[in-house]
Symmetry: C3
Subunit: 212 residues, 3 copies
């Protein structure tokens, strides 16, 4: 088992935990917790694979992914039941780490399919953030990543760094580590100093036909 | 026409009716009613086929599916217009029956594609419930199946029973009937005695970074 | 570069602008604006290509699409920043034009894949409206096209006209123009005289089991 595969499974577990916690905030039943956890952790990669026609999708090729997501979700429910508080700070850092891994995985898979660079960046970002967007849509929230501290921008930077280092023929391991470090450090800096992208405010008006 | 194909078409009609009723509750126009009916009845199977790369998807291979969903939606609008009350009890039982058929269809299709057992169960559940989840998302509701009486759990049981009986070399017809009976009886028992899965409650706090 | 390809790019730009404006109404950050713009302009075609197994999807085959959507989104933000008012009337007409192009593109792609007529019409409508539906779902709104002046109905008419003219062996260019004119004129007439499809109203009751 390579170090990178271990990171990937760790990312799945972390994203499943954030999904389970959101489901708990909506008072879902155990099945709902499981679905939201699986969608959050595996939805981004599934969307990427379907759009790239990269079959079979990850969790069908390897059933360890479903197992890890399921165990992480059940573990979260048990942990919270026995009233151990959630370490928000630790979870934030773990989430940034998962984001870094997923971004690199997505960019790698896209480059293997010989897509243009713009599409490879989009696939990296999509793998990192789409699971969380699906979680928020199912839970009837406007996705947080469009409002919050720099999140997806960290993915864009990581995907670009990975692509550039690949062009310079760096080894895959080294390019992955550098790209992950970029995502991690941008994201942790954004959390630490509450960095945000500029917002685009438009006065709320009556929805008109142009809204279609 | 096999008995199972007839059941499948019946399931499409029932799910289209539940979609049309929800669209009516949101005062959608006729086009909206049609779209919600089609998405509810065919969305789960389409998602399954796309994730499994099982092309062409059902309603492109066979245009009877679209026809049945369309007629069921229009029939629902006419029925309600002429103020005949909706038989809630009958609709509930029909819905449980449709759920049973869709679950077995989804599990069958997945097994034909040689996927692992965990993925086959997910495909069975997805075929049964994803159309209803899409309906609720488009109508801006938190999907009911994550809050309600045992619903998806019945699908999980049905998919597992089908897979086990297949392993024991039961005939496809017999395995299908047993699995459908399992889904139906669990679901009807849940309705009758208001059985629910335990909920996972988390106190609502300010959304923090970890929500991403 | 054919005239039709130019129309297609124009449609992408217009849809990206409507997406960016909606994101601004939700006070999203720059990344959110970009995502909503791309999803609105390319989401319908991507969904169509995935369901038809028509790979690679448009924006992976040709990275000009992403570039146009991105520039249109950024241009919208700059335009609004410098407080130039938005020409609602012009945008409405441009949007109707984009809808006409997308409908014809979607119907063409579907017919090339030899799908039944019902599926070709659905693909035409889907290409025209699904991007806007995704935009509304992500922004947590009930999709406007299910409530508003005749919109999708114009797509249905356009797709049918294209299919019929194809059967009569009209040239592709001529069939495209006639179908686009149909969409445009129906849509502009609907805006001008506020035409709506009849609504389907169902009294709001307690959600019951049948809502599943």
């Amino acid at each position: 088992m390579s170090w990178f595969y271990a990171c990937d499974l760790f990312g799945v577990a972390v994203f499943a935990i954030t999904g389970a916690l959101m489901a708990g905030r909506k008072s879902m039943d155990l099945f709902g917790v499981l679905v939201i956890a699986i969608v959050t952790s595996l939805g981004g990669g599934t969307l990427r694979d379907v759009i790239l026609s990269h079959y079979p999708v990850s969790w069908i090729r390897n059933d360890l992914y479903i197992l890890v997501a399921t165990l992480a979700a059940l573990g979260t429910v048990l942990w919270v039941r026995f009233t151990r508080p959630i370490n928000e700070r630790g979870l934030l850092i773990a989430d940034a780490f998962g984001l870094a891994v997923f971004t690199v995985v997505g960019t790698q898979v896209a480059l293997e399919q010989q897509v243009p660079i713009s599409a490879a960046v989009i696939m990296g970002v999509m793998t990192g953030v789409a699971g969380g967007v699906m979680r928020d849509i199912i839970c009837n929230e406007i996705p947080l990543i469009f409002h919050k501290e720099i999140y997806a921008t960290a993915c864009i930077a990581g995907a670009l760094i990975y692509i550039v280092l690949q062009q310079f023929k760096w080894s895959d391991d080294l390019a992955s580590v550098m790209a992950m470090l970029a995502v991690l450090s941008i994201r942790l800096a954004a959390i630490r100093w509450h960095l945000e992208l500029p917002r685009f405010h438009l006065l709320d008006r009556e929805p008109k036909d142009s809204d279609q």
